[in-house]
């Protein structure tokens, strides 16, 4: 009896025996789109917070409504724009680009991919110079003066020289300290 249980447990851990998750109905594309759609107001809120103009957001939403694009398809497009914003530069006339794509029939993930491609083409999301601009950062003569290196004995003690920590009692209280009484 007991070996059978062990075999079953091992098989379940190895994924041989179907578990409850495996038996759950597969999520359809419509389900995924719906779950994305639930995020639409949050994504727009993040877009506003990241500096996308409210008028641009309204323009995009109106365009998508006119094009009968489901909310779930609007989310990837805005996600791509917000991702570009992390590079501190944003595509100019983003709204008109999205509108043109939508009116051309581009939807969903393909729309997001085209926005990312356009970002890459225009260099959006990447500052002009890699790293900090010239003159920003530590000046050439800053830092530790020459010859002011740390003494050889300073810093962390060599292993084995530190006093052993008393771990025999809890709360970090030394062994010779009497316990507190209330």
């Amino acid at each position: 009896m007991r070996p059978t249980i062990y075999i079953f447990i091992c098989a379940a851990l190895a994924g041989i025996v179907p578990t409850a998750d495996a038996q759950a109905p597969a999520r359809t594309a419509a389900d995924s789109a719906l779950l994305r759609a639930l995020r639409l107001p949050e994504v727009m809120q993040r877009a506003r917070a990241s500096g996308v103009a409210d008028s641009t957001i309204r323009d995009i939403l109106a365009t998508m409504r006119r094009g009968a694009i489901p909310a779930g398809d609007a989310v990837p497009a805005l996600d791509a724009e917000i991702a570009a914003d992390s590079g501190r530069r944003r595509m100019d006339n983003f709204g008109s680009f999205v509108r043109a794509q939508v009116e051309a029939g581009v939807r969903g993930q393909e729309l997001a991919a085209r926005i990312r491609a356009e970002h890459a083409r225009r260099g959006v999301g990447r500052p002009d110079g890699v790293g900090r601009p010239d003159g920003v950062g530590r000046p050439d003569d800053a830092g530790r003066p020459a010859g002011a290196a740390r003494p050889a004995g300073a810093g962390r003690p060599t292993p084995g020289t530190a006093a052993p920590r008393d771990t025999s009692r809890g709360q970090g209280r030394p062994a010779n300290t009497p316990p507190r009484r209330p």
């Binding site: 389900d31 107001p41 939403l61």
Partner: protein, 85 residues
């Protein structure tokens, strides 16, 4: 002579007050509240999406419109985002 009229007026006033209170108690949820209720229910059981929507008098299309309406409004978007955290 006047007593029945006074009693009738009192009864009508009480009835009106009672109805007003009942309406206030069962006020419909705002757009954001409705969207939050529905979105939580859908996320809890996506297989029951259609029944959840129907229970709240929505279709997939009208729920989509509701989400667009909330997304277009900064105040409602912020309230929705806060409610989803």
């Amino acid at each position: 002579m006047n007593r029945p009229l006074i009693l009738l007026a009192i009864c009508l006033s009480l009835a009106a007050c009672g109805k007003a209170g009942q309406e206030a108690a069962s006020a419909p949820p705002t757009d954001v509240e409705l969207a939050l209720i529905v979105s939580r229910a859908i996320e809890a059981n996506i297989a029951a999406t259609d029944s959840v929507l129907t229970a709240h008098g929505l279709t997939r299309a009208s729920f989509d419109s509701l989400l667009f309406r909330i997304a277009a409004d900064p105040t409602m978007s912020a309230a929705y985002a806060a409610g989803r955290r």
